[in-house]
Amino acid sequence: MVPEALKFLRENILERGDLFGLDRSLWAEGLGLKREGRTLFFAGCGYQFLEPSARFLGLAHRVEGWGIDWEVTWGLWRRLRGIGRLLVPKGRRNPLRDAVEVLRQEGIDVAYLGGREPCCGAPLYFAGFQGDFSARIPKVVEALKVSGAQQVIGMVPSCTYALRELMGGVPFEVIPFVSFLAQKMKLRRRLPRPMKVTYHDPCVLARYLGVIEEPRDILRSVEGVELVEPEASREWATCCGGGGGFEAVFPQVSAHLARQRARELLETGAEVIVTACPGCLLQLQGGVRSLGARVQVLDMGEFLAGAELL
């Protein structure tokens, strides 16, 4: 009864340590991030595998579009080891690099575990493999403790939620990137010209973690930003269509939902859509593209790091 797509993700996490079983530290090449420190940057699978995820979901969508049963396809792929190699990220551009850069501009140095960063297992939890999730908790906590961190900055909302709320208490503070940044930010960034910017609340960030005002405070602090709200926002924000593994199980419906949310956000007249979740980022980029709109969808780190060039 369990969808093949979710079995695939489960096997990857249990047997290869993360969602896709690929090298996850490529994005950080050349950044010179140290392995230990007071503040640990928890990058999370979602961002580290942004590109393979995008390709994977794009393929899923196409396969369904051809009328081929996606469930069957998943089942076959699951048996083909090494399929992941086709998905190795090519480019180096990643919102994580921007996030690290933004933190550095604020004078904050973070540690990063690189290839040793464990998958928190949140996808297991959301897919219903809570037993597997629980069994991995000690391993995850141990791996994070190695850094000596007292504070963990969570980039992916669902990872942050898993670390903070689902592990029965961890021996370090876990804080979402946008909350951390909202507290520490001193620099006054500036857009080259005034622009309408809208923010999409990720479900887990807004409704599960209650982080609603912080990202807005950050955006409003940027000179030239006119923050515009869609009709459904904050705790009422509409889901991007990519929650709880849904996008992998129902690629076509998920794309419909993404398009719908993109439409809601475009109705604000914004020139830039900002969000703070890798899932939302991919979904909304797909949605905006399919509507033929020329509006950028950026992650918070990307937006801030590139603000002056927008």
């Binding site: 969808p3 959301f126 219903g128 629980s134 479900c203 409704r207 419909h256």
Partner: protein, 398 residues
């Protein structure tokens, strides 16, 4: 339903985007109205919290409360039954109705749960749904698409086509004309009916009172015009006191977008008079016989499981307007009950884990339904727990 069939159903539902458009319109008006209603009746929010406590208590003593309600009703001359399964409920009601009768029905999801209409029709009865939306769905030979607005997926143009075909006369695509045509058609059925069947929104054990909320006036006709009235009610609907029942009713109607409903019917006995020599005689203007069938069908077991919160559902339907998937495909995301809460009811009441699986994996766990829900039911959390049950069985996480 297998995963494949389910996906095919979703694909069909997405075609043309008509469902999304209809539900989208309904959602905008729902949101506008509920915001206004909560502004006009701000006590509703606190009342909802109180009702949550009432439901928590009631569900923990469900069996006992049903027994208390039955005893009181029997003393009030309402004959009562407890049906353990759907087929038992159908048989009880069928034996009360007989064959070859004219039956008018008020909207009742519980009756959909047990396929009551189909059962009675098979026995040679003429059964008419009298709720407008429900009648349209009956004419379409399909299933309701929303808890309260069963025809939420139909536009007025489609309704006009449907009614014109069915009534054999031109019904213009205007809402008022459509309502009139249905009223004219049903009026005669109400008068001829042998039996009226309704559901109940809540039942007070203390007084044995059945509470019904409605706007169209069809439910009061069903429960007062025919000589026999049968109420089918889920066991989870019973609360201790009349006062509790009215609180439950107010929160239900407010979140069901009725702001102030046209009618709230309270029924505690068959119609009666004591006007001649103070001798109580049953069967005055209303029905002479009233029956109440309490339906278990898995509820008792559910009330003792970690999923018991699902029984707090008031069926206001508010969550469905907030569900992104429901917004695209309406009741195709569901079985007899819809949306994420429907996945839970499918698993434990109307079907089994296998039927519920595609629905459980359809929940985005986005959590917006929970923000809307006056009972703050953690539907997304329970859907994840349902997935756990599907994937890992009863094995608890270590």
């Amino acid at each position: 339903m297998t995963f494949r069939e389910y996906k095919r159903r979703l694909r069909e539902a997405l075609k043309g985007g008509k469902i999304a458009e209809a539900v989208g319109r309904a959602r905008s008006s729902y949101r506008k109205n509920i915001a206004q209603a909560l502004e006009e009746f701000p006590h509703t929010l606190d009342l909802a919290k109180e009702v949550r406590r009432i439901k928590e208590e009631a569900i923990s003593r469900m069996e006992e409360l049903v027994e208390e309600a039955r005893q009181r009703m029997e003393r009030n001359h309402i004959r009562t039954f407890v049906a353990r399964t759907a087929s038992e409920a159908c048989e009880i009601i069928a034996s009360l109705c007989g064959r070859g009768k004219v039956i008018v029905k008020g909207k009742s999801l519980t009756s959909e749960e047990i396929d009551l209409r189909e059962h009675l029709e098979r026995l040679g009865n003429e059964v008419y749904e009298t709720d407008l939306g429900e009648l349209l769905v009956q004419l379409l030979r399909s299933r309701p698409m929303h808890l309260l607005a069963p025809a939420v997926h139909l536009t007025k143009e489609e309704v006009s086509e449907l009614l014109s075909r069915f009534l054999g006369k031109e019904v213009p695509p205007e809402v008022e004309a459509e309502v009139r045509a249905v009223r004219e058609f049903l009026r005669e059925k109400f008068v001829r009916a042998d039996v009226g069947i309704t559901g109940a929104n809540v039942v007070a054990a203390e007084t044995g009172t059945i509470v019904q909320i409605e706007n169209e006036g069809n439910v009061r006709l069903c429960s007062s015009l025919p000589p026999v009235h049968i109420t089918l009610v889920g066991m989870e609907k019973v609360v201790p006191r009349l006062e509790d029942a009215l609180k439950v009713a107010e929160v239900t109607w407010r979140y069901a977008n009725y702001t102030v409903p046209a009618y709230v019917n309270l029924i505690s006995s068959p119609s009666k008079t004591g006007d001649i020599e103070k001798v109580t005689t049953y069967g005055a203007h209303g029905p002479r016989e009233v029956y109440c069938v309490f339906l278990d069908n898995g509820r008792l077991e559910l009330s003792r499981s970690p999923f018991r919160e699902a029984l707090y559902c008031l069926r206001c339907g508010g969550c469905l307007y907030e569900c992104p998937l429901f917004g695209l495909v309406a009741g195709y995301f569901g079985d007899r009950y819809f949306g994420g809460i429907g996945a839970l009811w499918t698993a434990f009441v109307t079907g089994g884990l296998e039927d519920a699986a595609p629905l459980a994996y359809s929940c985005l766990a986005c959590g917006r339904c929970k923000v809307r829900c006056p009972m703050e039911i953690d539907t997304p959390g329970m859907c994840l727990e349902l997935r756990r049950l599907i994937a890992e069985g009863d094995r608890r996480p270590s």
